[in-house]
């Protein structure tokens, strides 16, 4: 019996888990190895006797050094962080109010409005960047971080609203009704009872919104021009991919450093994030 259980545990748990972990972490490992691999090794033939594709025997920090010294990468990192934080905050604020209203308030076409908000999230940025560019020009925001801080919510607010609307629906109405009976206003019940319970959902929406802003490319490319104003995704591509020449070492160093803040955000809020995704309050 014991032997059978152990066998089953391996087949149904350890092996699938190992495959999942390898599949998930391998890209990061590959980024890391490429970032510390000297150029001479990067372009060596796979058939070369000395080729070691999965590790390097001569690790170097040259690519990191080049990235930090020859490009304005730290500035790109800061720009990305600032823009992602600001647009996430704006979107969360709007998403919270809209999500609550759509989940709780009874008004005509509420369901359809919720669906419509989600549909706007599906409109591709490649269709929207030209009309948005016109708005950016009218407000003279071109080539400033505000061009992105104010355009990212066009896709973040629908996303946050939809996610939070779903989350609010899982919170029993009775909790809010009790507060109302005890004399709380709707706003008071919302901010003092519902929002604290919804923290996992709010954080999940925030993490997703932050990640979407962090990785956004097309608006950042169109609305920003100066090298010192660029975000990481655009800066790295502009400076380190030159036609048919890819500076792989620096690209991977940039990708690795660029993914650290996102990884930190995820790890910091992991338990809330999981709760937010798996459902929340039992009625």
């Amino acid at each position: 019996m014991v032997i059978e259980r152990r066998w089953k545990k391996w087949v149904y748990f350890y092996i699938p888990l190992s495959l999942f972990v390898i599949g998930t972490l391998f890209p990061f490992y590959w980024m890391f190895v490429t970032a510390i691999r000297p150029d001479a090794e990067l372009y060596r033939s796979w058939r070369a006797v000395t080729n070691t594709p999965f590790w390097t025997l001569a690790p170097t920090l040259d690519h990191f050094k080049d990235l930090l010294e020859k490009t304005t990468f730290p500035q790109w990192l800061w720009n990305t962080f600032f823009i992602a934080c600001a647009s996430t905050m704006i979107s969360l604020f709007c998403g919270l109010l809209a999500g609550y209203a759509l989940a709780r308030l009874k008004f005509p076409m509420a369901g359809m409005l919720g669906t419509s908000i989600f549909v706007t999230y599906l409109v591709p940025p490649t269709l929207l960047f030209i009309p948005l560019a016109d708005i950016i020009r009218n407000f003279a925001l071109g080539n400033t971080p505000w061009a992105l801080i104010l355009t990212y919510p066009t896709f973040l607010i629908p996303f946050c609203t939809w996610l939070l609307m779903g989350y609010f629906k899982t919170i029993p109405k009775e909790l809010e009704e009790c507060a109302r009976i005890d004399g709380a206003t709707r706003f008071g019940a919302m901010t003092r009872i519902i929002f604290p319970i919804a923290v996992p959902g709010i954080l999940s929406a925030g993490i997703f919104a932050f990640t979407l802003s962090w990785n956004e490319f097309i608006y950042a490319l169109i609305f920003l021009s100066s090298p010192e104003k660029k975000t990481v995704p655009v800066g790295v591509v502009s400076e380190l991919i030159r036609g048919d020449i890819y500076f792989w070492g620096q690209l991977m160093a940039g990708a690795l450093l660029g993914s650290i803040p996102v990884a930190l955000v995820y790890s910091f809020f992991v338990e809330y994030y999981v709760t937010g995704l798996t459902g929340s309050v039992k009625g």
């Binding site: 001479a40 372009y43 600001a86 021009s225 991919i241 048919d244």
Partner: protein, 430 residues
């Protein structure tokens, strides 16, 4: 020392970020500042060129008291950026047109015939390729020719010597025969058959060398359904099957460079950027790589040129300053050429006839002196039209070739499929 709770940490971090970020709120848009000429340019394949041109612009700025700023953007993203700027009628004063032709943007670009006449007078005129790329349907220059990227052959001399062809393949057929022998030894040749620049450039070179074309000299009559195109397709299929591996079906612009850099490739069709990169990383391998003219075919030697030119936008408030800068930049072509390590092939006849720095001095690069004689661009033998650009951008012909080479379509189906697509595109513009 007190313990910092997560709540305190978050509050402190948010407050600190807010304080540091506050100045961003008061930064004035750069476009609203002092008089300046802003240029949208590509990220040059040679990083040293960008450094040179930035320094060049700074010097000119100091001398003329007009601030020139060059924003470098990857070439594939430039069309989206120009489209957004045209739609909003704001943005850069000068935009670099990378491989797209001028006609497409002509409504948004000012007539620069006067400047081009002046430059032509000073430097012996522009080559027909430059005229084709920069003149629009009204017969006037709407962009200032900058340079073109030639498309020669890069071959491993040691490998080709082993099979009795020490100077590499001079004709497409020699490439097929020699390539088959080298593939058998484990050294295939590489021409992409996928959605990237090099694929569509190589195919055009092969098609033209076999006498085929997508359109006639009038730029309107579609000529894809021809005996010559059929011959070119048959040749391409044989070349793919005998001398290449299926990896070419999933290539991007960097893949053939990697094939050569890995030491596994015997020949690639590519600008010298591939050689320059290997030179910096693997001197031993670079010594074995030689450069030759793009191969010739039954109809002669023709290859594809990716052209670059500068347009001045109609909405620019500083058009005179923009013209003055472009004049100075064109006058300094030899310095630019040196900074590009021989990459920027000239459009001006004085420079085109040579000798040129770097390539005329290096025996290995000397074949590149002939590049201006046999390079053409999209729409050949007709003008570089918007329709030709769309056929190019949509990879119509390379899709047809890939399907034929992989036996998904027979010859007649391939020609019919390609012809229908090309005709549909041309009919939109006629």
């Amino acid at each position: 020392m007190t313990n910092l709770s997560r709540r305190q940490f978050l509050t402190t971090t948010a407050a600190a970020a807010g304080v540091v970020a506050a100045p961003h709120a008061w930064i004035r848009p750069a476009w609203a500042q002092a008089k300046e000429v802003r240029i949208l340019a590509w990220t040059h394949f040679v990083p040293a060129y960008d450094k040179w041109v930035d320094a060049f612009a700074e010097q000119w700025s100091t001398k003329n008291n007009i601030h020139v700023i060059i924003d470098h953007v990857p070439h594939l993203q430039i069309p989206a950026k120009i489209a957004a700027e045209i739609a909003t009628q704001s943005g850069h004063d000068i935009v670099q047109l990378v491989g797209s032709g001028t006609e497409k943007w002509s409504a948004a670009l000012m007539d620069v015939q006067d400047l081009c006449d002046k430059l032509a007078k000073k430097h012996g005129g522009f080559t027909p390729l430059a005229e084709n790329y920069c003149k629009t349907a009204d017969g006037k220059y709407h962009s200032v020719p900058d340079f073109f990227i030639d498309f020669p052959g890069l071959y491993r001399k040691d490998l080709w010597t082993e099979i009795g062809m020490p100077n590499g393949p001079d004709t497409w057929d020699e490439l097929r025969v020699g390539g088959a022998k080298l593939k058998a030894k484990g050294f295939p040749i590489g021409i992409g058959l996928a959605h990237h620049n090099d694929s569509r450039n190589s195919w055009r070179a092969i098609m033209w060398c076999h006498g085929g074309s997508e359109v006639a000299k009038d730029g309107k009559t579609v000529t894809y359904n021809s005996k010559e195109v059929r011959e070119a397709l048959k040749f391409m299929k044989a070349l793919y099957k005998e001398a290449m591996t299926p990896e070419v079906l999933a290539w991007d612009d960097a893949s053939n460079n990697r094939l050569l850099a890995s030491g596994r490739g015997a020949w690639i069709h590519n600008p010298i950027s591939a050689y320059r990169t290997i030179e910096g990383q693997n001197k031993e391998l670079a010594d074995k790589i030689h450069i030759q003219l793009s191969p010739r075919g039954p109809a002669g030697r023709l290859s594809y040129a990716n052209c670059l030119a500068y347009g001045i936008t109609r909405f620019s408030p500083n058009q005179d300053a923009a013209k003055a800068f472009l004049e100075h930049l064109t006058d300094s072509f030899k310095d630019a050429f040196r900074a590009s390590t021989g990459y920027d092939t000239p459009f001006l006849k004085t420079f085109a006839k040579g000798p040129l720095p770097i390539i005329s001095e290096d025996p290995k690069l000397k074949p590149l002196e002939k590049s201006p004689e046999y390079h053409y661009t999209m729409g050949y033998p007709g003008p570089c039209t918007v329709a030709a650009d769309e056929v190019y951008q949509q990879f119509v012909m390379i899709d047809a070739v890939a399907q034929f080479c992989t036996d998904k379509m027979d010859l007649e189906q391939t020609v019919k499929w390609g012809e229908d697509k090309i005709k549909a595109i041309y009919s939109k513009f006629i």
